[in-house]
Amino acid sequence: MIAKAFTILLFYLLGEGLSSITGNFIPGSVLGMLLLFGALALKIVKPGSVDTVAKALIANMVIFFLPPAVGMMTSLDLIARNIFGIILASTLSTMIVIAVVGLIQQKIGVRTFIKRKGGDK
């Protein structure tokens, strides 16, 4: 359990280090995720050395968003002044993203699959 938590923190730390030397263009946690994925795919790290802790974190992730969400209490005035635009942008743009990503993936994802089945490439 501690060893698994250590492995996850180690990759987080590596990601943060890599992020700071590349001008924080991509956050360290995301780079840590990519590094962990790479290490597992290349069999440098065994799945068993992170599995239960990784699963526990992911299963409970919603509560980790709670403290930043409570932070809205500090910008209530600004939010009130722009509330119409914020609601419109949040709802409309979110639905647009869902539709665009889902439709494109469904269209070209299926096509790639059929091509491979037919022996193309």
Partner: protein
């Protein structure tokens, strides 16, 4: 009394307690609008206002919880690995659809907010709304936005996306598990992924993947869209 009201233990305990209560209500009623995050956030803000405790104190008290967001993002690398076969088959389509999705997401936010006459700081705060909180907050600050507004926009969009996605799938006849997972993660990050995991293993894994890719794509999309709009004098 004030020392007790400002103690880390009090707010940490209240945060877990309120969240457990909200989750219990949600499990009984299954109403999308009563999402545990939305309910616990409202209750905690009310409690902070009532006791006059500052957000600063609350944020310090709950740092232990918010810190875990980072290791959770790292852990998504494990979820990704578990579904490596599904990803391998769809690399190109996943990259193309999330890139177009991030551009369309950023452009639509800018257009809608400009039409409603919103402040520039609000536009900068809302542009990374589809991205997971730690990434979104960094992107927002980089462009002159307000990190706390971004955090709430991200959460609200996440909740809204997780509720709206099944209806959007129905309207546009989106049925492939990979497409569904990708749309969940690209629009609603962690909250969407929590919903996607309930739909199935492929949906959950692809959604987790989409969080990371959408973060990277949006980090590129925001400066790109801003530069193009500037060039076109828009």
């Amino acid at each position: 009394m004030s020392a007790f009201l400002e103690s880390h233990l009090l707010w940490l305990t209240l945060t877990l307690g309120v969240y457990c209560g909200a989750s219990w209500i949600f499990s009984k009623l299954h109403l999308g609008i009563l999402h545990p995050l939305l309910v616990s956030m409202s209750v905690l803000i009310a409690l902070l206002k009532l006791t006059g405790v500052s957000y600063q104190t609350y944020a310090e008290s709950t740092e232990m919880i918010s810190f875990l967001l980072g290791p959770t993002v790292v852990s998504l690398g494990y979820v990704l690995y578990e579904q490596i076969d599904h990803i391998r088959k769809n690399v190109t389509s996943i990259l193309v659809s999330t890139f177009i999705g991030s551009i369309v997401g950023v452009v639509s936010v800018i257009v809608i907010l400009r039409l409603t006459g919103a402040d520039q700081s609000v536009i900068a705060s809302m542009a990374p709304k589809s991205v997971t909180t730690p990434i979104a907050m960094q992107l927002s600050e980089k462009e002159g936005g307000i990190a706390s507004l971004t955090s709430i926009a991200v959460v609200v969009c996440g909740i809204f996306g997780a509720i709206a996605a099944p209806y959007v799938f129905k309207v546009f006849k989106i049925s492939s598990p990979v497409a569904k997972g990708l749309a969940f993660g690209a629009s609603s990050h962690g909250v969407g992924t929590a919903a996607a995991i309930k739909m199935g293993a492929i949906e959950g894994a692809i959604s987790g993947l989409a969080i990371g890719i959408m973060g990277v794509m949006t980090a590129v999309a925001i400066p790109l869209v801003t530069a193009v709009m500037h060039y076109l004098h828009l």
